[in-house]
């Protein structure tokens, strides 16, 4: 087996394993860690195909976004942070394995020139070829129709989220200066006339 093929199967196996664990693990922290691993492996496969831009975008957007998502999970599920910290040592082996695998993948891909895995049947590009430029050109020419529609899908997402969550127009505690200026004393202060109490 060629080394290139080996790298591909290595990355794919980790990807599938990590994806399976994301679904099967009960602990949200473990699941999120595996999700990071899955994204990392996928971006490694993309780099094998010389699509660096997509790979970097995957890391930036997904791994970044997933970390945010992870924080939300911690916040929303009301996980006790002290208890999480207690479990630090029990998480460490898993975290270390994930980290080691990521480092190994990075080494395999970044050391690609040395191992000679970037040669093969992937079309070779001339020097100075920009992945970003190529993707951008395709998006705005050949794929402009689905690209525009994708923006409509995002717009639907905004409208749907608003329709489902916005309860009332004025629920926030913002102040209206124009109304405040016109407030009169009798709007706020009520002067009561009470009969004096007799002290016996």
């Amino acid at each position: 087996m060629e080394f290139r093929t080996f790298v591909f199967y290595f990355l794919s196996a980790i990807l599938v394993f990590a994806a399976l664990r994301v679904v099967t693990l009960r602990n949200p922290v473990h699941a999120a860690l595996h999700l990071v691993l899955a994204f990392f492996s996928a971006s490694g496969i993309w780099i094998l195909l010389q699509a660096e831009f997509l790979a970097i975008a995957l890391i930036l957007v997904y791994v970044g976004a997933v970390m945010v998502l992870f924080l939300f999970v911690v916040m929303l599920l009301d996980i006790n942070l002290d208890r999480l910290r207690e479990g630090f040592w029990s998480y460490l082996p898993l975290g270390a394995i994930v980290a080691l695998l990521i480092v190994a993948e990075m080494g395999l891909v970044l050391g690609g020139m040395y191992w000679g895995i970037l040669e093969g049947d992937v079309p070779q590009v001339e020097a100075g070829f920009s992945n970003v430029q190529a993707v951008g050109r395709l998006l705005f020419t050949e794929y402009v129709y689905p690209f525009e529609l994708a923006s409509v899908v995002l717009l639907v997402g905004i409208v749907a989220a608003t329709a489902l969550t916005l309860r009332d127009k004025r629920k926030s505690k913002s102040l209206s200066p124009s109304e405040q200026v016109f407030v009169k004393a009798k709007d706020r202060v009520r002067v009561l006339q009470m009969p004096a109490e007799k002290n016996d």
Binding site: Q133, A134, R137, T141, E142, Y143, V144, Y145, P146, L149, A150, V152, V153, L155, V156, G157, V159, A160, T162, A163, L164
Partner: protein, 499 residues
């Protein structure tokens, strides 16, 4: 070819002008809705209906009857697409008109988002109908589904509604995943996602057969979910039941047309070479749907659930036609079978509009007509509405001479011609089971004493459209030829198999 040599042809926007018009109007309505006061909210409704009318006019104006492509062959315009789009506009128009009072009575839905999301869903259906690329098929489906998920959950304070929305969302995401996986497999097998290139390549014998068959399973599963046929039907009863009735009416009508178009585009236009494989899959789905749909509907007491199971069985019946098209290489059988399916789905949408429209009529502020018993004595309360509902039920049951009978008849004809006599017998048997629960509604309407005597109030235009809907079901039943010929010619002009 390097990138510098790549020539980009500016897309011809005229062909897609209906889509562009709907999108522009939707964005406009979204902005108008921000500034309009609650009292003038009718403006949003009127603008929405005008958009649909305008879209119909645009589609008619640019329709040529020829197959033309634009947007780098991602968009196709042909007469099947134009016909189905016009049907989609018509049914969305009817849905919005029928549900006007229902929506006004429910303050949570009376906001402009209901109309904006309806238009976005319409746009999604238009994209699905005229897709010539797996990517556009997928994005169209997502656009439609995302709008529907939100509309189902719009009645936020009702637990069934929220639950239905959540179920629909989770299962819909799963189905989209299946569909995408199938598409990526087909891409892996053939190296293209463009439907017309795909079929041309496959006809020349390119492509990896095993991977293609593997992808096909996922594609068919994804589409089956969107159609709602067994065993991918689990969401249908809960969503039909839980959604506000206006949204149920929406889901039960126009999306069926769009799903039919996707079946034609993806399976027939794209993967006709693999027809031997997908015909068997569709046959299994179809028989299972007719069995489960009809038997489960018998046990329902909630009319929305009953009609949901009936929708499952109808989609199964429609798939029978799709599953028996290709016999040898004779184009005549294909056009007969597929046009009978198209006729079936169009007439089903007509009857479904009328049936859910009547349920909407019986609902009022603070009261949802959901049980079959809510229809008891409808004849004494309003004999015309009872008559319309009876026609819808007769049509769905396939009683001659209503339109549903001819739809069933033409599909069965295609099945018998294909040589599946046992299948035709099974379909007739399941339809007989189905007749029981349709006739039960008629019995409740005509022979049971009315449970409540609240007068049924409806605006004039609703009465008019409802009557037209009822008469259409009866009149097309008497002379179905015009619609059948329309379906046959538009399919004949559009399926690339014949060229």
């Amino acid at each position: 070819m390097t990138l510098a040599e790549m020539q980009f042809v500016l897309p011809e926007l005229r062909i897609a002008s209906a889509e562009i018009f709907v999108l522009a109007m939707t964005c406009l309505i979204l902005i108008v809705d921000l500034f309009v006061k609650d009292k003038r909210r009718t403006l949003v409704y009127v603008l929405t209906q005008l958009t649909l009318v305008g879209a119909a006019a645009t589609t008619m104006a640019v329709s040529t009857g020829d197959i033309s492509y634009t947007f780098s062959n991602m968009f196709v315009s042909d007469s099947m697409g134009d016909t189905l789009k016009l049907m989609v506009y018509l049914s969305v128009f009817a849905v919005l008109l029928y549900s006007r009072t229902y929506v006004l009575d429910r303050p949570q839905m009376a906001k402009g988002e209901f109309y904006v999301l309806s238009l976005f869903a319409t746009l999604g259906m238009m994209v699905m109908v005229s897709a010539n690329h797996f990517l556009t098929v997928y994005i169209g489906i997502e656009l439609l589904s995302l709008s529907l998920y939100a509309m189902v959950g719009m009645n936020r304070d009702s637990i069934p509604s929220t639950e239905a929305s959540m179920k629909y969302f989770v299962l819909g995401a799963l189905a989209s995943g299946l569909l995408l996986y199938g598409m990526s497999m087909v891409y892996g097998a053939t190296g293209t996602l463009e439907i017309s290139t795909l079929s041309a390549g496959l006809l020349e014998g390119q492509g990896n057969g095993i991977i293609l068959a593997f992808g096909l399973v996922f594609l068919v599963s994804g589409i089956a979910f969107k159609l709602g046929v067994v065993p991918f039907h689990m969401w249908i009863p809960d969503v039909y039941h839980g959604a506000p009735t206006a949204v149920t009416l929406f889901i039960a009508s126009a999306p069926k047309l769009a799903a039919f178009a996707v079946v034609i585009r993806v399976l027939v236009n794209g993967l006709i070479v693999a027809s031997h494989d997908w015909q068997i899959m569709l046959l299994v789905l179809s028989v299972l749907s007719m069995a489960v749909g009809n038997f489960a509907a018998v046990a329902q007491t909630n009319i929305k659930r009953m009609l949901a199971y009936s929708a499952i069985s109808h989609m199964g019946f429609m798939l029978l036609g799709m599953a028996t098209g290709v016999i040898g290489r004779d184009a005549q059988f294909v056009v007969n079978a597929y046009s009978s399916s198209m006729f079936y789905v169009v007439t089903y949408v007509l009857s479904s509009l009328g049936a859910f429209g009547t349920i909407l009529l019986l609902s009022r502020a603070g009261f949802e007509a959901e049980e079959i018993s809510d229809f008891s004595g409808l004849n004494k309360r309003n004999s015309w509405y009872a008559a319309i509902m009876m026609m819808m039920m007769f049509s769905m049951a396939g009683i001659p001479f209503f339109v549903g009978f001819f739809a069933k008849f033409s599909v069965l004809q295609a099945v018998v011609v294909a040589g599946h006599l046992w299948l035709a017998l099974a379909a007739v048997f399941f339809s007989l089971v189905g007749a029981y629960y349709y006739l039960r509604v008629v019995k409740v309407m005509y022979f049971d004493p009315p449970a409540d005597n609240t007068p049924i109030k409806a605006p004039g235009e609703v009465k008019l459209l409802m009557s037209a809907n009822g008469l259409a079901v009866a009149l097309i039943g008497i002379s179905p030829n015009a619609l059948m010929i329309l379906c046959a010619t538009s399919l004949n002009d559009s399926i690339s198999f014949f060229r």
